[in-house]
Symmetry: C2
Subunit: 305 residues, 2 copies
């Protein structure tokens, strides 16, 4: 830390020094956390200017929010609760780096507060290139254990927690990670496999199928299409359905359960917005439209009739 430079991380840790979940003060080499009774989740995401966001257009606050929310969503996808975050930041030395750092922190902290976990430390650096934000998040499994991508079975029903598509119009910057939804589902039914929609609904479902070694048929009429997907389709000429299946960063959860648990979910609706979008089969990824079954690419591209 060259003298005179804003010590972002010290400033961050000073703000969590009074948190009883953090055992030692902000001046130490590591944060120290209390022992865990349950399996610990670790996830990390690196976001870069020009790839995951455009700093000049959206500002530090939105970048901080997105960086933290993307990690929280990964914990949600395994049915866990976030417990503590560390943040690595590389600030561009062009511009007001103190103002940028404070905006970033406000965004990071807003998501941390919403899910009630501390930011316990981090590292900062300054250079002549673009902004990089790296968040590592720890989490804890519930007593029912982690939900992986690998437990889907033929005959399972496939669900999604909300409408997809067109997040690039702005929703990708302020996702609501589905932590509460995942926990509510986890106590209600036996979740066989789960993932959050970061690459795209079809792509992320195909990640489940790959790990579970089975296939799925998606019902075109059952896919909840976000209004943004319709707006975007007027610009791109693609069908709204293709945006719902192919666009990324919706941060809804896709999961599979047994048919009987699926019926229970439709009856009890423990989570608003839940939609059954298909069923698992032996192999392949298919779209059923009006009874005709065609291959569905993980990119969301629908094979023409």
């Amino acid at each position: 830390m060259p003298s005179g430079e804003f010590d972002f991380i010290r400033w961050v840790r000073d703000r969590t020094a009074a948190d009883p979940r953090v055992l030692v003060g902000p001046g130490d080499d590591c944060a120290v956390l209390t022992p865990t009774r349950r399996p610990t989740f670790v996830t990390t995401d690196v976001l870069t200017d020009g790839v995951d966001f455009r700093l000049a257009e959206v500002g530090g606050w939105a970048v901080g929010r997105k960086a933290m929310a993307a990690n929280v969503s990964d914990i949600a996808a395994m049915a866990g609760s976030p417990t503590a975050a560390v943040v690595g930041v590389v600030l561009p030395n062009a511009g007001n780096s103190r103002q940028l750092a404070e905006g970033l922190y406000a965004g990071l902290r807003e998501v941390a507060d919403a899910f009630d976990f501390p930011i316990v430390g981090g590292d900062t650096n300054t250079w002549s290139d673009g902004l990089v934000v790296s968040v590592t998040l720890l989490g804890e499994a519930t007593g029912r254990g982690p939900v992986t991508r690998g437990g889907a079975k033929p005959g399972d029903w496939v669900f999604v927690t909300g409408p997809c598509g067109g997040s690039i119009l702005g929703r990708h910057l302020s996702p609501t990670p589905r932590v509460r939804e995942a926990l509510a589902l986890h106590v209600t039914v036996e979740l066989h496999a789960m993932i959050d929609v970061s690459d795209g609904l079809a792509a992320d479902l195909s990640h489940i199928l790959e790990e579970s070694r089975c296939g799925a048929v998606v019902l075109a009429d059952a896919v909840p299409v976000h209004p943004d997907a319709i707006t975007l389709s007027q610009r791109t000429g693609k069908r709204p359905l293709e945006h719902a299946l192919g666009d990324g960063e919706d941060f809804e959860l896709v999961f599979t359960v047994s048919a009987s648990d699926g019926e229970r979910l439709l009856r009890e609706r423990p989570v608003p917005g839940l939609a059954k979008i298909g069923e698992c089969v032996e192999s392949g990824l298919w779209l059923d439209e009006g009874g005709a079954r065609r291959p569905l690419a993980p990119t969301g591209w629908v094979h023409p009739v």
Copy 2:
């Protein structure tokens, strides 16, 4: 992950899939670790091209080694053992990114293997700017608990685990984190305060003094000066002592113990290379040279007589 791009993190996790300390497979949203019985350390470092290394001069392997070793050193500084790492990498899209990623991984893995912990996951990105490597490392305290920077007392003796200065001549790229030394000291004596030398011997000692709210006198003749500090002094015109006190990234440990524990360390020498360099006093940071006491700046600059 755009298709066709080398999935560095998937490749990394495939390599640790068989590790029994990692509970779920490489295809999931988070790594899952077994519960801990003791406090968990979390530390993170972000290294950037042109600031922490020059990629064109040193290559990916050295960068990976340094990034991992710097984090291991932070765990050592609190007398803990590293348990699991995650890695975030932003690769420049100029050049052979696959080759760079494999070199990086070899360096990261070499240090992880030396200290027997798995690399459990991470994230990767590609852009038109420079290389960024972000490592987050988890660790575990021993039964004797964490050693912080805040426990030094007037009358304590100040020790360092080895010679300092001139690391910029190359040693800064391949530090040997003092994990085993810290654990050996921790079982032998009561460590009051400890830190690793990353900013510089005087600067890091001053971090201890700040957290402990006391001072220290360093004995000029007792400071172990690395041969690199002598070589460098011939180039810079500074005294070798000033390089030993002021240069950073030696990754030796500086710590304080009671006088009786200090005598025991000098008698039993549980760690080779150990040197008593001074004693704690009520306030200030001082250099004693031939009986004359002068202010010592945290930068290592010695106040003229």
